[in-house]
Amino acid sequence: MYKNNATSLGLANMWVAFVFFAVAALLGLYQVIERMDIIPGLKSPELYFASVSTHGVLMGFVLTTFFVMGFGYYAATTSLKQEIWSSPFAWFGFWLSLLGVLLAAVPLLTGNASVLYTFYPPLKAHPAFYIGAALLVIGSWVWCLQMVMMMRVWKKANPGETVPLVMYGTVANAILWFITSLGVASEILFQLIPWSLGIIDTVDVGLARTLFSWTLHAIVYFWLFPAYIALYTLVPKAAGGYVFSDQMGRVAFILLLVFSVPIGMHHLYMDPFQAAGWKFLHMTGTFMVSVPTLLTGFTVIASLEVAGRLRGGKGLFGWIGALPWNNPIVLAAILALLMLTFGGFGGMINASYSMNAMVHNTQWITGHFHLIFAGTVVIMYFGIAYYLWPKMTGKVLYSTKLALTQLWFWFIGMLVLTLPWHQLGLAGQPRRISSTPYDDLLVQSWIPAEIAMIAGGVILFTAALMLVYNLLKTHGNAQAESNLEVEYAESLHSTVRMPALLNSFGFWVVLIVVYMIASYGYPILQFFMMETFGTVPWSI
């Protein structure tokens, strides 16, 4: 019998994630109020852009990375029934990442790194910001290695057996993150750090943006993966059923892995310095990456239907009512799927080579990624936390009712926030502004949507507090939890023999490397082949 040595590791990672999440949620509330010019005393671009930068870093890099690591460690040990490959090394990665966050927090909070989480050279931040970001990424590579090694050890000990779906997805994510973070890592290590320290005088902004785009799309799949994994492996069981098809889950994970990295240039549609043909190539891949999501929608909804019918649901829609809506992770899944559907429609516009021009860098984009990331992904993080906290702490969930209310608040708040943002974007409002000193007619047309945005911000912040309060009270709960077993869903269709390609990654990694060279090789190489002019650092 193995001894699970990932409990405190998983919990430590996830606590870091949620504590910083709460801080970032507070900043978000401040931002929606500041952004609309209603309280003159609150006006401060210095504070606003420091806040936006911190909010982005905390939500996009810290909440996600730590949550993914914590979930990965815990899922790996509980599904493989095997200890962490190297526990001291895993803790080293955790502390290194945390050190990076704290190092970056100092310039962020003092307004010396107000360059937004996308860095935006030639705006220059304090070197500590870039070094902190690099440490966070390097720390997360420790996690990637652990996941890959744990799967190898398990396969060696269980020859011919099928790696559990939850682990297969987690390792897919580890590989995805390692490959995709190489883009931003090279931008930070070879361009931004030496440039901010004065070792090199100029950076080529075109190259920097191309490298960042390498990371920028697949990073959202790194965030999304735990949500999808839970939809396939935890939710069907919690709903009282089976996962419709284990094998299709693997196909979806592989498609996400292969198609999400070499398509990042759709973030550069509006940029000069990359020719249209490359953008066209990346667009075709971008449409292909919707296939695993469509597949996931089918499998997860089919799994829920199976569960609903097993629970006595009848008729075409009766099974929906029969689902356990009072189970937090099931409710989170239903709400996540709804937000994913709304957000997916918007994504088609952004992905389109021609239509994107209308919405590029407008508030539409902010609306889109809040719906998909802060909506779909983060609500699943909540659902997973409500499910795992009792298992990890050994204490009963403090209040299921509070958890359910919190999920509804988050869902409603997110719609109230993001639907008006889409409308603001179509009406031309730029994202990343701290005030609206523009043409009067234009600005007046924005007011109703901005009022809704503030209401959304208030609801979301309330929900954020409810989450942290509930998790904290659970941790300190006197009542012990009786069921500590993490129950992963079994497949409805049992696969007699899993194809080797869906039980390993070697072939797929080679395929990604080839695809990456084809789609990013020349676009990066061109900067070294033509005469370019670098840019000196500019303060904000």
Binding site: F49, L116, Y120, P121, P122, L123, D204, V205, G206, R209, F244, S245, Q247, M248, M270, D271, P272, F273, Q274, A276, K279, M283, T284, T286, F287, M288, S290, V291, L294, L295, A302, M348, S352, Y353, S354, N356, A357, M358, H360, N361, T362, G428, P430, R431, R432, I433, S434, Y438, D439, H493, P499, L502, Q526, T532, F533, G534, T535, V536, W538, I540
Partner: protein, 172 residues
Amino acid sequence: MRDPLRAICDDDLERRWLWISLILAGGMGFLLGMYALSSNLHPPSNVETIDSSRLHLTEEFAEDKLGVKENPDGSLTVTMVAARYGFFPPVIEVPVNTPVKFRVASADVLHGFHVPYTNAATMVVPGYVSEVSTSFPTAGKYSFLCNEYCGLGHDNMWSRLIVVEKTAGGNE
């Protein structure tokens, strides 16, 4: 013919859905791609470098060379500089339904360039010249907004575009 997806998927219903997904994704990409290609609608993708710190010394982007120029074929070229915190020259006037090519360079950091309610949009990246071609079918007052964070004064970076009726002879 044997369904090729049978190799990865045993369930009939799910395989049907997989086909629908593939056709949906492929079809959307194909449709949008063909639409863009057939109407020659491309995102601004000019690959041309320039030394942003020496714009004032160039033939094209020196201060007195900026603005609207008419080409022999009747189309217009508008040369502009984006710099913290404004677009120069600050007022641009063009006639309706006339092909306009904007050529924009940054004198300092990253900027955005967008005329709301139109598809005149591009990033302006130091070290590179942005080029975007469009025409404006409706006369009226428009704004150029900088839609990329460029520093603490970013919100204040906007200027005026006036699209005039051709018969008005260039006056408002």
